[in-house]
Symmetry: C2
Subunit: 96 residues, 2 copies
């Protein structure tokens, strides 16, 4: 039987964002923008979903007069990512 793949993580852009956040202390909006090549709107929407689930934390400030938004993964987010990877690996192992 197949375990369910966390629908929040099983989406390309959200998975990319979480992947990025797993490897850094925190990331700025523009970093996410550059790394994912997604549109600003799409990033904004998907970030909101990850935040609503408490998978990430959002901090808003200013730098050189411009708004600066940074993101960090939470403990819950890390656990969810690890669980997601395990589930996926179970799928892939079945195929072999």
């Amino acid at each position: 039987m197949f375990q369910e793949l966390d629908p929040l993580l099983h989406q390309q852009l959200r998975l990319q964002i979480i992947t990025l956040l797993m490897s850094v202390e925190s990331a700025e909006f523009n970093f996410v923008l550059a790394e994912t090549k997604a549109t600003r709107g799409n990033i904004s929407v998907q970030i909101k979903k990850l935040e609503a689930a408490n998978y990430i934390e959002v901090k808003k400030s200013f730098r050189d007069n411009y708004p600066l938004t940074t993101y960090a993964i939470t403990e819950k987010g890390k656990l969810a990512f690890e669980k997601y990877v395990e589930t996926l690996e179970a799928y892939i192992n079945k195929a072999r």
Copy 2:
């Protein structure tokens, strides 16, 4: 930079179906139904998408008077799955 995840495979039910088909010569509709626990309608729709992409082959016949539909993965489907797994692994490795 992130590579794109084949949208046809990056969906739970279709991934489950392909995973199943990777490990068997062929599978019957009811086998897929039992293994995935999805609804018949959903299976039918997702199978059609995989078939349209030539990721799987569909054979229709009869057994004990009832319609019998069997599915098998194609070479193209196998390659797509392997590519998908590689891409995913690249994501996951980034997170570490």
